[in-house]
C-alpha cells in the first residue's frame, strides 16, 4: 500500500479551509537530464496524463534546460490549452513495507506560456506558477485508488 496525504489546512478557529486536497509524494527521475527529485503530485483523476507543472519544472529542471526541451504537445484544460514537452521519465513510489514500485512513462512538462516574456504579463506568470504537478490517469490506472474522505485516508494499492 502506498499512502498519500489528504491535505486539510485549518483556519485560526480550527475549521477546515476548503475541501481536503489529495496528494501523493513520489520520486521523479528524468534520466536524460540527470534529475531525480521527490515532490508532491495532486491526485487528478480528470487528467489524462501526469504533468510536471511550471513551478516544479523550474525548480527541478531549471529554465535553461526547460527551454531546450523540444518535443511538444498541446494539452487542453479548463483554462484553455497550453504547451507541454514530452520527456521520458520514471516515477517511483514507496510502499508501507518500504518496497519501491516504479514506472517508465512519458512525462508532460509545462512550458512557459508564449506571452510569458512580454512586458506586464505577471498575471499569466502568477497563474502558471500556482499550479501543482498532477498525477494523472496514465499512472493512476496502474492501481486501485482509494480516497476516503470520511476516514481521512488516501492510498494506492493493488487489489
Amino acid at each position: 500500500m502506498i499512502r498519500g496525504i489528504l491535505f486539510e489546512p485549518l483556519d485560526s478557529q480550527g475549521k477546515p479551509v476548503g475541501v481536503a486536497t489529495p496528494y501523493m509524494v513520489a520520486t521523479l527521475n528524468i534520466p536524460r537530464l540527470h534529475i531525480s527529485s521527490s515532490l508532491p503530485f495532486l491526485v487528478d483523476t480528470g487528467a489524462d496524463a501526469t504533468i510536471l507543472h511550471l513551478r516544479d519544472a523550474l525548480q527541478i529542471i531549471g529554465l535553461r534546460d526547460l527551454s531546450m526541451l523540444k518535443e511538444t504537445q498541446q494539452l487542453k484544460g479548463i483554462g484553455g490549452s497550453a504547451e507541454y514537452s514530452i520527456v521520458p521519465a520514471e516515477i517511483v513510489f514507496c510502499h508501507d513495507d518500504n518496497s519501491l514500485e516504479g514506472f517508465q512513462f512519458d512525462l508532460r512538462v509545462a512550458k512557459p506560456a508564449k506571452s510569458w516574456w512580454k512586458p506586464r504579463q505577471s498575471n499569466i506568470q502568477a497563474l502558471q506558477l500556482r499550479l501543482p504537478s498532477l498525477l494523472g490517469r496514465d499512472i493512476l490506472s496502474e492501481f486501485c485508488l482509494v480516497i476516503d474522505y470520511h476516514r481521512r485516508q488516501l492510498f494506492l494499492d493493488h487489489p
Partner: protein
C-alpha cells in the same frame, strides 16, 4: 470495419506506462532507504504547511512560500522573484506552495 481498435491502439501508444523491474529501480533512483528518506522529507514539509497554515496564510497570503522539511526558508512576492530563487533551489527537496486566499478557488 470498426475504427475502434485503431483508436484504442493509439491511446495505448500515447500513454504507454511500463513497470520497472525492482532490480532496475535501485540503479535509477537509489536504495529504498534513500528514496524513503527523500519522500519523508517532502511529507514533513506538507505536514508543516498543514499544521501552520492559518499563521502562514495570515502573514503571507497571495505569496509563494518555500518549505524545506519543517522549516520555512523563503517567501516570494512576485513570479520574477520566485523564478530567480528557484534556480538556486535546484536539486534541493523543497516544497513550493502558493498561499491563495481561501475564496480564490483553483479549478484544474
Amino acid at each position: 470495419m470498426s475504427v475502434y481498435p485503431s483508436s484504442a491502439q493509439k491511446i495505448r501508444v500515447e500513454y504507454m506506462v511500463i513497470k520497472i523491474k525492482p532490480e532496475e529501480l535501485t540503479k535509477s533512483v537509489g536504495s529504498s532507504a534513500e528514496v524513503k528518506r527523500h519522500l519523508e522529507h517532502q511529507r514533513e514539509g506538507i505536514e508543516y504547511l498543514q499544521n501552520n497554515y492559518s499563521e502562514l496564510l495570515g502573514k503571507y497570503h497571495n505569496k509563494w512560500i518555500v518549505i524545506e522539511g519543517n522549516e520555512l526558508i523563503a517567501v516570494e512576492d512576485t513570479p520574477k522573484q520566485l523564478m530567480k530563487h528557484l534556480d538556486e533551489l535546484k536539486e534541493k527537496d523543497v516544497l513550493l506552495y502558493y498561499l491563495a486566499d481561501p475564496e480564490d478557488l483553483l479549478i484544474l
